[in-house]
C-alpha cells in the first residue's frame, strides 16, 4: 500500500487534527449559542458578567448627599434648579466622600450655558428656560460669582 497519495494525506489529516486541538483549547467552554439562538445569541456567556461587573461611577441620587450636605440639598430642592442632579455639576460621586478633594466643582460658564444659552426654539423644552447672551451678560466672570447655582432665584441674589 505504498502510494504517493497516502503520505501527503497523512500530513493533511495531521494538520486538521492540530487545528481542531488548538481550537478546542482556544475557544472557551461557555462559547456557543445561548438564549437568543444561533443567529443572535452565539457568544461567550461569561462576557455578560464581565459587563455587569463594570464599575459604576455615578450615584444619581440626591438623597445620598442629603445627610452630609443637607444645606445644599434643602436649598437646591426649593430652587428652580431642583431638577438638576448634584452630580451633573460635581461629577461622579460614587467614591465620594472617601476622597472629597477628588470631586471637582464645575464653575465654568459653559456648564450654565448648556441650558441658558438663548436658543429661540419654540417647539422644544428649551423655550421654557430663560437665556442670557454670554457675550453681553457679564462676560469673563464665572456665573457663580453673582448667581448661587444651588439657589439661582433672582430675588435675593447672593
Amino acid at each position: 500500500m505504498k502510494s504517493h497519495v497516502f503520505r501527503p494525506l497523512l500530513v493533511v489529516i495531521g494538520l486538521v487534527v492540530i487545528v481542531l486541538i488548538a481550537r478546542f483549547f482556544y475557544v472557551p467552554s461557555d462559547f456557543g449559542s445561548h438564549e437568543k439562538g444561533y443567529m443572535y445569541g452565539w457568544h461567550r456567556k461569561g462576557n455578560e458578567d464581565e459587563w455587569k461587573a463594570f464599575k459604576v461611577k455615578y450615584q444619581f441620587n440626591n438623597e445620598y448627599c442629603k445627610d452630609c450636605h443637607s444645606d445644599k440639598y434643602e436649598t437646591l430642592a426649593r430652587s428652580p434648579h431642583a431638577v438638576i442632579n448634584c452630580e451633573n455639576c460635581h461629577g461622579p460621586a460614587m467614591e465620594h466622600p472617601s476622597d472629597p478633594a477628588k470631586l471637582k466643582i464645575d464653575k465654568s460658564r459653559e456648564q450654565c450655558l448648556r441650558c441658558h444659552y438663548p436658543l429661540p426654539y419654540p417647539t422644544s423644552g428649551r423655550a421654557n428656560i430663560r437665556g442670557v447672551d454670554p457675550e453681553k451678560h457679564n462676560p469673563g466672570v464665572e456665573c457663580s460669582m453673582c448667581h448661587n447655582p444651588h439657589k439661582p432665584n433672582l430675588r435675593g441674589m447672593k
Binding site: 462576557n47 455615578y58 450655558l113 419654540p122 423644552g125
Partner: protein, 264 residues
C-alpha cells in the same frame, strides 16, 4: 516538468488551506436551531426598552457628558455612545441638523455646524420649528450588527441588550457598517467595536442608565416592557410613539415621543 517534491508541497498547501476553515465548522442540528430562537426569547422576564420624549429635551447634553464619564469613553475623542441632534426647519423648507461633539457640551451657539468647518447662521424669524433628538443604540430585536459579526463577538443578551465582547472582537468593523443608526464606533483605546449597552452594569444593579439619571427634564426613560406595571410600558401601551428607520426591519426598541419626518 513538475517534480514530485513540488507536487507534494503544493498539495499540502492547498489541502491545509481548504481544511482550516472546514475544521472550524460545527455540525448543527437544524432542529436545535428552530427550537432555540422564538421559544426561549419569549420566556425571558426582562426586555429592556428605552423611551425618549423629544418635547422635553432642551439639548443641554448632560446625558452625553454623563455617558462618556460613566462608560469610560475618552472624553475628548470625537466618539460617543449617545448623542443629541438638533434639527432646525426654516420657513422656506430647509432642514438643518447638527450635533457638535455629539452635544457633549450642549448647544452654545445659534449657528448650525454643517461640517467641514462651515457654519450656517439662521435668523430667529426664519425658524419654523426646531427641536432636539437624543440618539442611542436601539437594541434592536433583529440586530443587523449581530448578524454580520463573523466571530460571535457581538450578541444579544437574554434581556435584549446587544453587547460587544471586547476580548473576542477582532475589529473588522462589519458591525459598524451594518448598523443603520450609526451608533457603533471603534473604541479609541481598546480598538474594538463599541456601542451603547443601556449601561448594562447599572440596569442590572437596579439603577437607571447614566443618561437617564443625568437628564434633569425626564426626556429619557428606561424600562422593562415585560413588566406591565413599568412606567415605560404603560406609556408605550397608551400613547403614540414612533421608532427610527422602521423600514429597515430591525425592530428597534428605542421609542420616541414627538418624532418628526425630518428626523433621520
Amino acid at each position: 516538468m513538475i517534480t514530485r517534491r513540488d507536487l507534494l508541497k503544493k498539495f499540502v498547501k492547498t489541502a491545509t488551506g481548504v481544511m482550516i476553515p472546514l475544521a472550524a465548522f460545527e455540525i448543527i442540528d437544524p432542529k436545535k436551531l428552530f427550537a432555540d430562537k422564538p421559544f426561549k426569547t419569549d420566556e425571558a422576564k426582562v426586555r429592556w426598552v428605552f423611551l425618549v420624549d423629544t418635547y422635553k429635551c432642551v439639548g443641554c447634553g448632560l446625558c452625553v457628558k454623563a455617558c462618556k464619564t460613566e462608560n469610560e469613553i475618552p472624553y475628548d475623542a470625537n466618539v460617543t455612545r449617545t448623542w443629541v441632534e438638533r434639527y432646525v426647519v426654516t420657513k422656506n423648507g430647509n432642514i438643518y441638523a447638527d450635533t457638535p461633539k455629539g452635544a457633549r457640551d450642549g448647544f452654545t451657539t445659534n449657528r448650525i455646524d454643517l461640517g467641514m468647518g462651515k457654519k450656517q447662521d439662521i435668523k430667529k424669524e426664519d425658524i419654523k420649528k426646531a427641536f432636539f433628538v437624543p440618539k442611542l443604540c436601539n437594541q434592536c430585536d433583529n440586530p443587523s450588527c449581530v448578524q454580520v459579526c463573523p466571530v460571535g463577538a457581538t450578541y444579544q443578551a437574554p434581556d435584549g441588550v446587544v453587547l460587544v465582547d471586547r476580548k473576542w472582537c477582532i475589529g473588522c468593523g462589519y458591525c459598524i457598517m451594518a448598523c443603520p443608526y450609526g451608533v457603533r464606533f471603534f473604541h479609541p483605546k481598546y480598538h474594538v467595536a463599541e456601542k451603547c449597552n443601556f449601561c448594562y452594569h447599572r440596569i442590572n444593579k437596579g439603577m437607571k442608565t447614566a443618561c437617564v439619571g443625568a437628564c434633569p427634564f425626564g426626556a429619557r426613560m428606561i424600562g422593562n416592557i415585560k413588566d406591565p406595571g413599568d412606567p415605560v410600558t404603560k406609556i408605550l401601551m397608551t400613547e403614540r410613539v414612533g421608532v427610527l428607520k422602521e423600514e429597515y426591519g430591525t425592530k428597534p426598541q428605542v421609542y420616541y415621543i414627538g418624532l418628526d419626518k425630518e428626523v433621520r
